[in-house]
Every structure is written in structure tokens, then in C-alpha cells.
Symmetry: C2
């Protein structure tokens, strides 16, 4: 495509996302909903002005990597560890329950083939970290206790989602369950999460030492973006979503991160702040492109709105996907209101779900009708959760004050 | 291409450009030379790791648009107008003389066909604003009097270069000189430079008014980038290089720009400063990609280094391209040292020259040998001018103090 067309598309995405986001915020709706709607408007569903591919996809990917970097940077690892047990319960429950119930619905109630049902169930497992954390940020609750639990849980169920994807992919190829590739990815992940922050921390230490000597401006933006993207690429290369590479880098550069034996690489709050302030405009520039991209990917024009199957299946799948996702959160020991809001925050499906659906479509396992249904359910969980979250906080937020 | 490959390429470009730039700066060589060399290293000349196209080209284009935006933002329009006459002399002399002499060399001395000679001459006309201004910035002379003259002249000869390109393109198609399309472009340009700053100023005024009401962070980075890219696209759409659209936007948003009848839209230094500080990291992130891209585009591997024609022609063309470019500057009424340094600063050819060369190659007018020669001359003027400039300032800078 022509360079200048892409430049116009980027300009259009930025300004329309901003306008829709501001309008949403003005009606007290989380602005992320506005950005998603901007994507749905610009994309194949309505105007068809922008295809969700190529260049825009790369910028969107950079956007979500940088957003997760920022989330990592602002995360207090100690808090994350403190709420770790709860995150594990929320993630495991919120992964197993949707998988089992959505499989049951597809296979036993709607009589879909086994592999198709497994894929649909897979689509409903992983929470969208980006949308969830952005929704909490929009209503100023990202640093809350439930925010910490949700962040940990969303990272964990992304990991589980990727493992499941590897298993299902093998199963769709060979017809038998083979855990080797999943085990390999799991091993890589463990190594990655041990090694990546150490690499990131060490390199950021070099950058910091070098800062005084640098003779040309722009050291922090160029080197930090390069570092974040390199580790995102590395994570992708070993089978982990790129955004988790961004998260690991952010964690490593956060103010309170200590690497094992890294006594000499003490955290430097001043450098963390400096990185934060230089990166802020860059992150703010790229992240809306990601949320617009999610909207672009939700092609609702493929849906046959007169189909009975579509309505029965999508409504029941949506209901089960929402209720089952909240199952894990109900089990933790917290105030009831916090358990509910934690479960609600886990509801949005996004990136990983769309990857499952796309895999199903390109492999021919999901026909257009089922694909459209799944996309519709993802769209629903993504578009309405931020809205319900805000409403819940408004009415029951007072029961969560510690 | 795979999204994650592009992400790795971006990371590689950023870090290698930084390392080469810092090494150059450490040896007191302008860092832009380091970045160009990084591109030559990564590109088809040596490693062949990155193709100069697709995604990277878009990011590079955004880089040069944003750099020109920054140059515009930092420009004092009054100074530019004050040195306007000198800029016109420098631009006209530095455009006509290289065109005439390089045509003469190609047509009469090397007996090349008429149209080929015209294209070669066209390649040697326009100064690279990006490389020239970046070289002056590297040595801290971008705000000097000669810096102002060079900026105005470089903008003007880019405009002349584009008009010439339109004329030659028509000539290559029809075989006769037809000035209508050039006249149309010229008209568009005049309208654009009258209208675009007014649009930019008005929109920036709206953004500024809106700033207090905005409920989501990131207003300035997203809206200003969107504004700059939109006007760059508009300029491209009417036949002007995109980077001049960026420059016009920057000028309009600079502290001292007043639009006609715009008494109510008074310049707001605070807002200008705010735009400047929020945009800085974004500009610093994108611009190195442009200079690496120029290096990637200079494919020196196509040159047959044993060819006699190549040596005779490239050496004589280089000599004439340098000497003739300085002709315009010698005519202005300034201290002699300033005249020389102004002429030297005008020497680098870049973007527009490469567009001429590419047009010649794709239309089949320039064979590989001549194309390679032209690229070599561009490479020489681009790579060595910053170096000579610094050397000249070191030895004769004292004669330019006012």
C-alpha cells in the first residue's frame, strides 16, 4: 500500500479514537469503549475504510506491548506477589470453568463437532489484559487491591491460554493430545520470566550509566523502545505473546524490582521516573491504535442477524462465558463486593480469543457462522464490561474501602 | 511480512543507529553520519538484513515529517523572512547551476542521451533538508544566521525540485515540454502554504481550548501527531513532498507565527512549549529511522567498482555537483566564510535526488550503471558534507561571529 495512504490512516485512527474516547468519557463511559467503537466504525463492519492488517497491525502490536510495558513499570512486584495466591485462584477458576462449560454447551447442547467445540471453548478462556487494565485505569482503580489481583490473574490466564492453544493446535493436526510442545513452551516461559527481567534490568543499568556520556539527544526513547521491542520479539520467538515480553521489561524497570544477586544494580527511582516521563507521550501515541485495531478486527458484518442458531448460540455462550469467568473470583477470601468486581474485570476477552478464532477460521474448523458468533461474544464481553464495571463501582464501591 | 519480524527490525534499527551515532559523536563526527552508515551496514550493500520498503519506509517517512515539524516549530518566521532574499539567491543559484552543469557534463562530455542527462541533472538539484538541518544541529549551528538562510533555501529548492520532476515526468511521457502540470503544482503549493498554516493554527487553537476539558490523558501527542500527518498527507496529495507539510504545520504552531486576520488566535508560548516537550520523545524516536532508511536506500553493491566509466563519471559528477551547488551562496552579501559555509551546507542531496533516481530506474531511462553512479554521488555528498562542515566551522568559525 502507498506510504501516504498509511499515513492518512494513522492520522484518521488517532483523531477518531480521540474524539470517540472523549465523547465516551463525557458520558461517563470508559473511554476504551469509545476507541473500540471507533475501530468498529472505521473497519469492515461499517465504513470499511481501514483493513485490520499490515502496517496498522504492527503499530497496534507496538501499542499493546508498550501499554503492558507501562503497566509493568507501574506495578509494585511486592504487591503482585502478595496477592499471588488469589490471582492463581482467579486465573485457574476463570480458565477452567469457561473452558469446561463452553465446551459442554457447544458439544452436548448444540451438537457441534468435538474439535470445533474445543476451539470455541478455548476462545472463551483468556482475559484481555489490555482491555481489562485499561478499563480499570479509566475508572481510576488500576492500583487498587482488586486491580493487582486481576493483573496477576490476567497474566496467568494468558499464559494458560497460550499453552492450551499449543495443545489444541497439535490436536487439530494429529488428532491426539500431545503435551510435548505445550511442555516446551511452558519451560521456555519459566526460563523467559526468570531471564528476561534480568536482561532488561542489566541493559537498563547500562543505559543509565551511559546517559551522562551520551552526546546526542534522545537516548532514553530510542534505547528503551528498542529494549522493550527486542524482549517482546524474544518472547514471541519462544511462543509467548509479545505483550508479556513488554510486561516483563516494564516490571524489571519498575522502581521496586530487584534481580537475584543484583545487589550492585540497585533500583534508581530517579531513572525510573525519567524513563516514565520520556516514554509517556510515546505510549499515549501508540496505545489507542491497539484498541481501534481490536474494533477493526471485530467484523460484525459477517453475522447473519436473522439466523436462529446465531441468536440461541450467541446468547447462551455469552451468558455462560460471563458467569463462568466469575467463578474463580468468587472463591477467594475477600469482601463479597471485591470478589464480584474482580470476576467482572476478568470478563473481557480480546487478543488471545481472537487468535483462537482466527486459527479456527483459517484452518477451516470454524465456519463463518460460528466464527461470527464467537466474534460477537468477544465483542459483547469487550464492549460492555467496562460499562458494567463503572456502574458497579459507582453503587458498591463504598463496600470495598479498606 | 510477519509482525514480529518488523518489530525486531525496528528494535534493531533504533539500537544500531544509536550505537553508530554515539560512536561518530565520540570521534567528533556528526552523529547523522553514524546513522547513515548504520543504514548502509544493515541494508543491501552489506548485510542485507532490512529491505528499504514497506513498514520501515512508512516509519521513516513519519520520522522526516516529524523532524521537519520540529524544525518548523523552532523556526522564527521573522528571521526566515529577514533572510528571505538571501535564501532565494542561494536556492536559485544552487538549483540552476547544478542542473545546467550536470546536464552539460552528461550530455556533451559523456554523450548520454538527452532525457537521461536531464534526469541526472535533476537528481543533483535539490538539497536534502533533513540531512542538512540535522548536520547543522549536530554541530550546534542550526539557529545561526547561515542556518536560517540554508533552511529557507533548502525548502525553496525542494519546491523547485518537485516542479522540475513534474516537468521531466511529462517530458519523458510525451517527448515535449508541457508546463501545465508544473504550473498546477505551483498553484497548489502557493495555496497550500497560504492555507495549511491557517488550518494548523486554527486546529491547534481548538486543541488548546479543549485541553482543560479533556478527560483522558494523551491529548497533545495524539492530536498533534494526527494534525501533522494529516497536513503531510494533504501536501502529498497535491504533489508537494510530505515533509513540507510537516514543516508548514510546525511553522504554524511555532511561538511567533501569526495568521492573517488571526488576531483572536494569539500565539500562546506556554502551549508551544507544552507541544514541544510532549512531542520531543516521539520525534527523537522516529527520526533516526529516517536517516537509517536513507542509508538502506543507498545500495552500493550495484556498483561495478572496476568500471572506468563509473570512476570517470562519478568523480567528475561529484566535483561538479559540489562546486556548482556552492555557486548560489557565493553571490550573497555576507562575510566570505559564511558564504562558503552556506554553500557547503547546501551540498547534501538526499530524498528528492533519490526520488529522481528511482523514477529514472523504474522507467528504464537510467540503466544500472548510471543509477549506481548517481546513488554513489548522492552517498558522497550526504556522507561527507557533515564532516567537512564541522571541520570548516572548527577552523573558520571565528570569522563568522557577528
Amino acid at each position: 500500500m502507498d506510504t501516504s495512504t498509511v499515513i492518512l490512516q494513522i492520522a484518521a485512527i488517532l483523531i477518531i479514537a480521540r474524539i470517540f474516547g472523549e465523547i465516551a468519557a463525557n458520558f461517563n463511559i470508559p473511554s476504551v469503549i469509545g476507541e473500540l467503537c471507533a475501530g468498529i466504525l472505521l473497519g469492515p463492519t461499517f465504513l470499511g475504510l481501514i483493513e485490520p492488517d499490515g502496517m496498522i497491525r504492527v503499530l497496534a502490536e507496538i501499542g499493546i506491548i508498550l501499554l503492558l510495558f507501562q503497566i509493568g513499570l507501574e506495578t509494585n512486584l511486592q504487591n503482585l506477589v502478595n496477592t499471588g495466591n488469589k490471582s492463581i485462584i482467579v486465573a485457574t477458576g476463570g480458565f477452567v470453568l469457561p473452558f469446561v462449560t463452553c465446551f459442554g454447551l457447544s458439544y452436548y447442547v448444540f451438537d457441534l463437532p468435538q474439535l470445533v467445540s474445543l476451539l470455541i471453548a478455548g476462545t472463551m478462556t483468556a482475559t484481555s489484559i489490555g482491555i481489562t487494565m485499561r478499563s480499570l485505569t479509566d475508572i481510576g482503580r488500576d492500583k487498587s487491591k482488586e486491580g493487582q489481583i486481576v493483573l496477576g490473574a490476567a497474566v496467568l490466564d494468558d499464559i494458560m491460554g497460550v499453552l492450551l492453544l499449543a495443545i489444541l493446535f497439535d490436536f487439530s493436526q494429529t488428532g491426539s493430545i500431545d503435551l510435548t510442545s505445550a511442555a516446551r513452551i511452558l519451560l521456555f516461559m519459566i526460563v523467559f520470566f526468570l531471564v528476561a527481567p534480568t536482561i532488561a534490568k542489566s541493559i537498563s543499568f547500562i543505559i543509565r550509566r551511559f546517559e551522562g556520556m551520551s552526546k546526542i539527544p534522545g537516548l532514553v526513547p530510542t534505547t528503551i523502545v528498542s529494549l522493550v521491542l527486542s524482549l517482546a520479539w524474544l518472547s514471541h520467538a519462544i511462543g509467548i505473546p509479545e505483550l508479556l515480553g513488554g510486561f516483563a521489561t516494564g516490571l524489571a524497570l519498575s522502581q521496586r524490582f530487584f534481580i537475584p544477586f543484583g545487589v550492585s544494580l540497585r533500583a534508581d527511582p530517579e531513572f525510573s521516573d525519567h524513563v516514565h516521563s520520556e516514554m509517556k507521550p510515546i505510549i499515549q501515541l501508540f496505545t489507542p491504535i491497539f484498541f481501534v485495531m481490536v474494533g477493526l478486527s471485530l467484523d460484525l458484518s459477517e453475522i447473519d442477524w436473522t439466523s436462529h442458531f446465531f441468536w440461541y448460540f450467541s446468547v447462551s455462550l455469552t451468558a455462560i462465558a460471563i458467569v463462568s469467568k466469575m467463578g474463580g473470583a468468587i472463591l477467594i477470601r475477600e469482601k463479597f463486593a471485591r470478589r464480584v468486581v474482580t470476576g467482572m474485570a476478568m470478563v473481557p476477552r480480546g487478543e488471545v480469543g481472537l487468535i483462537f478464532a482466527e486459527l479456527g477460521r483459517t484452518s477451516g474448523l470454524l465456519n463463518n457462522e460460528i466464527y461470527a458468533t464467537v466474534v460477537m461474544v468477544i465483542a459483547y464481553t469487550t464492549l460492555f464490561t467496562p460499562f458494567w464495571l463503572r456502574l458497579f463501582y459507582k453503587n458498591f464501591g463504598k463496600y470495598m474501602d479498606d
